[in-house]
């Protein structure tokens, strides 16, 4: 029975890994080979990885993605920490209602708001830049606030009280007591947001799609079809790999942070 189970596990692993193998092998083929039925590249065209920079302003798009993901993460953390603090460790009228509103905004699909948001951004002249993507993130992100609030609630009240007795006001308590203790949660939240922004397709397409200078990597990858004189499968796969690589590297380095982040959401039952 265990043997059967193990073979299923192995079969599933092969199934999950094969697309990776294929993408890598396509990225190393010549263009004619991608059209043929051969699965193994010969010879290995490592030059594909350098050739694609000729067709494709990779670094500009990578920089745009980095700007969006980096600044977005900063904004989300800077705005999320005080809000989560207020929702978890202060007593004030309207706290429960506000929390419910935060949760409700999590459930709403973004499509309901994009039309008017787009119009606002047109009127502000922000369309065609990264501003519509980055600036709203400095005003709170529901998921971040939720995660941080859950974590802040696990910090014992005595620590805040002790600091208050010492004469600290809430800002000092937040910065000197809570934030140092919440470093794992903040790290998890920063990671989630960075990856979300790096992989994001819909919002950049909407707000920056018309201006090729502000394309992020995600958009440009999909546009590569148009930029080159046809479907250059090998270059597209090579670019996809370069796009995915930072994510995989971060994933492997930060596995611990991920696991802590998932358990923080307390999904069980």
């Amino acid at each position: 029975m265990a043997v059967a189970n193990h073979s299923v596990a192995i079969a599933l692993s092969i199934m999950f890994l094969l697309p990776f193998v294929f993408i890598v092998s396509t990225a190393l083929m010549t263009n004619q080979q991608t059209g043929s039925l051969s699965i193994w590249p010969s010879p290995f065209r490592w030059s594909n990885f350098t050739d694609l920079f000729e067709f494709f302003p990779f670094w500009r798009y990578a920089w745009n993605s980095l700007l969006y993901a980096g600044l977005g993460t900063v904004g989300v953390v800077l705005s999320g920490i005080p809000v989560a603090y207020a929702l978890s460790r202060l007593r004030w009228r309207g706290r429960q209602v506000s929390f419910v509103l935060v949760l409700s905004s999590l459930m709403l699909p973004v499509q309901v708001t994009i039309v008017p948001l787009y119009i606002i951004f047109v009127r502000l002249g922000w369309i065609g830049s990264l501003k519509p993507l980055i600036i709203p993130l400095f005003f709170g992100d529901a998921f971040t606030i939720f995660l941080l609030r859950q974590f802040f609630m696990t910090i014992p009240q005595e620590l805040s009280d002790a600091a208050r007795v010492d004469g600290a006001n809430d800002l000092q308590i937040l910065l000197r007591v809570i934030v140092p203790l919440a470093k794992p949660a903040i790290a998890a939240v920063a990671l989630f947001n960075f990856l979300y922004c790096w992989n994001d397709f819909f919002s950049p397409l909407l707000y920056a799609g018309n201006n090729p200078d502000t394309w992020t990597l995600a958009i440009s990858l999909q546009q590569l079809t148009q930029l080159s004189r046809g479907i250059l499968a090998n270059l597209q796969m090579a670019a996809s790999i370069l796009f995915t690589l930072p994510v995989l590297i971060i994933f492997f380095l930060a596995q611990k942070v991920f696991v802590e982040g998932v358990t923080l959401t307390g999904v069980k039952g």
Binding site: V83, A86, W92, V115, G140, I145
Partner: protein
């Protein structure tokens, strides 16, 4: 602190009590202000980027608006057009219903199955878990493009099928096979769901399984009467998230449709991949019919609310919480 006196409090005591009350009210007021100061980023963001757009979206849905000229009030025209004359609307609805009805259960079933395999693995659990979860880390765009070439008529999947003398479908070039192609992509990305179910499965108390064994239950009965009820809250959570994400389905379909040729209309081939959000995007951001797009988004909002409510109501019947509070 105060001792009970037989006679009524003298004037200085009353003044002190009043002073105490005033101080308490002031500090409560200060607490409120501090809290609001901390909340201010979210309050601004919520009002400007959430509440205002929802309300003005409703307004725009009753207008005809293309951004260049001013909005023109047209009443219920957008909605009338949507339900009676827009053929693509119903195609989009049907395709999205397909996602919700087929892909969501598929992912959940596959997630549970893969998780169950992992619960019985003795060695190398970390390795399998990483491998199963890895595809979820790949950005959707890259994954979709990868699958376009994987399932291309010249690609390896068809090569293998041809080798086994099985029919080789045209996948994303064939309206009948385009959605199953997306289903394959969805099952490849089942890692996240699987991880959640793995945690839930490992949480099922062993005594229940032992009790079931004592009563002579076979594996299928064990699954039906012990495992499923115990993980039903997680199933419920996954169903709700899955349904909401199903309504949002866009990126994969968009990338796949346009992969063959940038000028392909969204939903190629032949509208088989036209999902609700794709239709909304096409109307609002390719055709700039903002009013109509707003109407579409409101219909979607209402449908999602109704579905979520129905799910929550229905959950009382089949979701079993260990605390037994429902």
């Amino acid at each position: 602190m105060a001792t009970v006196t037989a006679r009524p409090p003298a004037a200085p005591d009353k003044a002190r009590a009043a002073e105490r009350r005033r101080r308490r009210r002031r500090s409560a007021w200060r607490r409120q202000l501090v809290a609001l100061a901390f909340m201010s980023p979210w309050v601004i963001g919520f009002s400007v980027f959430f509440v205002y757009p929802i309300l003005s979206s409703l307004y725009f849905s009753f207008t005809k608006y293309d951004i260049l000229t001013d909005p023109v009030w047209v009443g219920l025209d957008n909605y009338r057009f949507m339900f009676t004359s827009d053929g693509r609307f119903w195609t989009a609805v049907r395709n999205t219903a397909w996602v919700v009805a087929i892909i969501v259960p598929l992912q959940i079933a596959f997630g549970i199955g893969a998780a169950m395999v992992l619960t019985r693995v003795k060695r190398g659990l970390g390795f399998y878990r990483t491998v199963f979860f890895l595809p979820t880390m790949v950005p959707l765009v890259a994954a979709a493009l990868g699958f376009v070439f994987l399932l291309n008529p010249g690609g390896p999947v068809n090569a293998v099928l041809g080798f086994l003398h099985l029919p080789e479908p045209l996948w994303f070039r064939d309206p009948a096979w385009a959605k199953p192609g997306l289903a394959l992509l969805a099952t490849w990305m089942v890692g996240q769901t699987m991880i959640i179910f793995l945690a839930a499965l490992l949480d099922v108390p062993k005594q229940l399984y032992e009790a079931a064994d004592l009563e002579g239950a076979g594996p299928i009965q064990r699954f039906r009467h012990v495992t499923l009820p115990m993980i039903s809250p997680v199933i419920f959570f996954s169903v709700v998230i899955g349904v909401i994400n199903g309504f949002r389905y866009f990126t994969e379909a968009f990338v796949v449709s346009k992969a063959g040729d940038w000028d392909n209309p969204v939903g190629t081939p032949q509208d088989s991949l036209l999902f609700y959000t794709s239709h909304l995007y096409n109307q609002g951001f390719e055709g700039f019919h903002m009013g109509y797009a707003a109407a579409l988004s409101w219909v979607m909002f209402v449908v999602i609310m109704v579905c979520t409510l129905l799910l929550i109501r229905g959950s009382r019947r089949w979701v079993h919480y260990q605390g037994g509070f429902r």
